[in-house]
């Protein structure tokens, strides 16, 4: 099998996940800014023109970074990054979604609605990017309150896929200058903890 990869936040989620699992998988790097995901050949692999895509040896194509991560979780369960047991699996899913929807999508929208790269990929509404910039600040404050119980990772004591998603959100937030305010101690400590992992640079 192989992963179609590029220098972008969602492919990086898969790279971080694989690094945390200690897995090495064949990669095909595609030239995103050169339009390589918009060719007829690539659109047969993912009609949405997005990376990453996992192609299995039987030809099955799996898109969506979180679905690709789940595939690897199933075939290589240790360490369990989606959790073990009903309660922990649900809490990790909850936090993965909270971080994706409240943070990653918020800061991602700032890029999507202002960067020329996206001008042919979606209907840009710059006023929406402005609104999301304000919202991002509120969401960091919200998350700092949530993490004020001192837990080391997003969903509790163990590093999980929710932290992988956070690693993407933190990087994108810096890219669009909507990063966590420095006076929020709990998120700042957690982000430093994530940045110190070898997988950060995967």
């Amino acid at each position: 099998m192989k992963v179609y990869n590029a220098d972008a936040p969602n492919p990086r989620r898969v790279r971080i996940f694989l690094a945390e699992k200690g897995l090495d998988t064949d990669r095909v790097d595609v030239d995103l800014s050169g339009g390589a995901t918009r060719t007829p050949e690539f659109l047969k692999r993912n009609s949405l023109g997005h990376v990453p895509v996992l192609e299995l040896d039987d030809g099955t194509l799996i898109t969506e970074s979180n679905a690709i991560c789940r595939y690897f979780e199933e075939i290589h369960p240790d360490p369990p990054l989606f959790g073990a047991g009903a309660r922990q699996k649900a809490l990790i899913e909850m936090w993965n979604r909270r971080i994706e929807f409240e943070l990653l999508m918020t800061v991602g929208a700032i890029a999507q609605h202002t960067f020329p790269f996206f001008s042919t990929r979606l209907r840009q509404v710059p006023a929406f990017a402005d609104a999301q910039r304000e919202t991002a600040r509120e969401k960091w404050i919200w998350l700092d309150g949530e993490m004020s119980d001192g837990r080391p990772y997003a969903a509790g004591d163990e590093f999980s896929v929710a932290d992988v998603t956070a690693m993407a959100a933190i990087q994108v937030s810096e890219f669009v200058d909507a990063q966590c305010p420095a006076d929020l101690p709990h998120v700042t400590a957690w982000a430093d903890r994530l940045r110190s992992r070898p997988s950060w640079s995967a």
Copy 2:
């Protein structure tokens, strides 16, 4: 345990999921339009002020409809609505996310950015709603192409949580008048199939 429920799309996803599993769980109906999710008491259960919330007997609080569904999948695996085996689990996750991100969020944003109900809940950008209305039409066309292989359900031969998410998207799309164009045969047939399930009215 009990589910905090309301007359809204995300609580409905949990109600449909439970109906498909044949499960009956205690519900606490909250008055969404009356502000019941904005009280200090409710915000202790979900700091985002969203429903649904699952409260376990040990006091654990699980938010996010998909995380709640996953909890029930783990404790009542049959029928497996998140799939069985690595490949099918990944494909269902892929389609659940595609339908949530491409369709449900698109039509949901039309409501969120125009309805008075949301005016105190997020920064409304009416131009973003207009753009999403155009996008919704394109996404229905995209999905019709994807389903032109004739498969009966979103992720293949079996009904799954991706179809549950679609049932929410279809209903919201009708609510904001951004429904599937009637001349798209594959999505129309699939939507009719979903509408005919007893769980549609859960």
